[in-house]
Amino acid sequence: MKTIISIVRKDFISEFRSRDMFISMFTFSLIIIFVFNLVLDLTSNIKNIVSPAVLWITFLFSGSIGLSRSYSLEKESEAIKGLLLAPVDRSLIYMGKFFSNLIFLLIIEIITIPIFIILFNYDFSIKIIEIMLVIFLGTIGFSSVGTLFSAISLNTRLREVLLPILYFPIIIPVLLNAVRITRSLLSGESLSSNSSSLQVLIAFDIIFLSAGILLYEYVIEES
């Protein structure tokens, strides 16, 4: 646990100093939401169908920028090798990076939500707690897969391109189910009416978090 906290703390100090990741993720989120809001003339009929997809695509794209940046910091001066030289279990390094990414993504998402509510004309009485729960589960999926695939792409020349190519297809089940539940909640339905989608999200999170813990050792090593 001490190792995980050290890695998260180190990532936060590093990001707080540069703010590169936050600024790029937040700016990108804002631009996507603004562009979609401008180009889609959303009447109330289709608003609840389209806007959840806009929200989750925003999270996905800005998240991929964050994930890519998170490993750029490790690649700078080959700091990751200093980490790999230490007598710590690779799974703890994965968990440290997973929690760092999870917290960074959640912060950006929490900031994005009010902007989304205002621009898409929702009122703040929507089921925000339930929506936040779905966002939390979806972001665990984003972070677990993203942390693993960022490590895979770390030692490749085309890592900025490779990450989305590997990451986006795998994350589709999270995206589909998170959009489905968010749409249902924005239409006034309850969370319990989406239990199957919720189960898929939870199962995905457990599978990919476990896969990350088990496989990180093999993907992070230089070959």
Binding site: K2, T3, S6, K10, I13, S14, E15, R17, S18, L73, E76, S77, E78, A79, K81, G82, L83, L84, L85, A86, P87, V88, D89, E221, E222, S223
Partner: protein, 232 residues
């Protein structure tokens, strides 16, 4: 004692190391020389466990370093020509972070103490990003020594250093040698460190061309040039 048996590393069709065999005794200082692409960095990366060999085994005191990598990692320090440091953290923050990973007692005191030894205490709170190449290399050495390893691997630690940086690191290496640390160092700066070595290992095209305890500079240079020109 470090024992290397039939160590091989291939990258696709390229053989970087072709079945190396050698042993290094406790407290020995061994210099690795060789032209660019001879396999020096690959050898040190494998010995430090950050790269897996294609074939062969390495033992430290009869412990297989890949089967017991946790135990071995706590006994070795590695300095590369890249510093392996976080640029947005200060030297002190970097060292405290790494000391924590090695379970060093009282990491803050230990980090301060080692920065003082390396004459970096006056600028310990500055970000590593703002350091000169020589200062980064000294912090990298501090990172490698923070857990007091008994084996130290150095991969071209003098590359890009000015005279002062080279002199500081050379003095530290002298002290470490006097403390009985086992040191394996690759370098192109033969004149700066030949006096430190007990033995010299010459690698050419992934093979040991020779290993000698004759550290006479003239003899070595003559033999080096002969062998390298034959292989080219």
């Amino acid at each position: 004692m470090i024992s290397v048996n039939n160590l091989q590393k291939t990258y696709g069709v390229i053989s970087a190391l072709k079945g190396l065999h050698f042993e290094i005794s406790k407290g020995e200082f061994v210099l690795i020389f060789g032209p660019n692409g001879a396999g020096k960095s690959t050898l040190l990366k494998i010995l430090s466990t950050i790269l897996a060999p294609t074939e062969g085994e390495v033992y430290i005191d009869d412990i297989n370093i890949y089967k017991n990598s946790h135990e071995i990692r706590s006994r070795i320090g590695f300095v590369s020509h890249e510093p392996f440091l976080y640029e947005n953290l200060s030297a002190l923050e970097n060292l405290v972070f790494f000391a924590g990973l090695y379970n060093v007692d009282n990491p803050l005191n230990k980090a301060k103490e080692i920065l003082e030894t390396l004459q970096l205490d006056a600028r310990e709170n500055e970000l590593v990003r703002n350091y000169s190449r020589g200062m980064k290399q000294r912090v990298a050495l501090a990172r490698a020594l923070i857990h007091e390893p008994d084996i130290l691997y150095l991969d071209e630690p003098f590359s890009g250093l000015d005279l002062l940086g080279t002199s500081i690191i050379t003095n530290i290496l002298k002290n470490l040698k006097a403390q009985g640390k086992t040191i394996l160092m690759s370098t192109h700066s033969f004149d700066d460190c030949a006096d430190l070595a007990h033995r010299i290992l010459l690698l050419i095209n992934g093979e040991i061309a020779f290993m000698t305890s004759d550290v006479n500079k003239d003899h070595f240079k003559q033999k080096y040039l002969e062998l390298v020109s034959i292989n080219n």
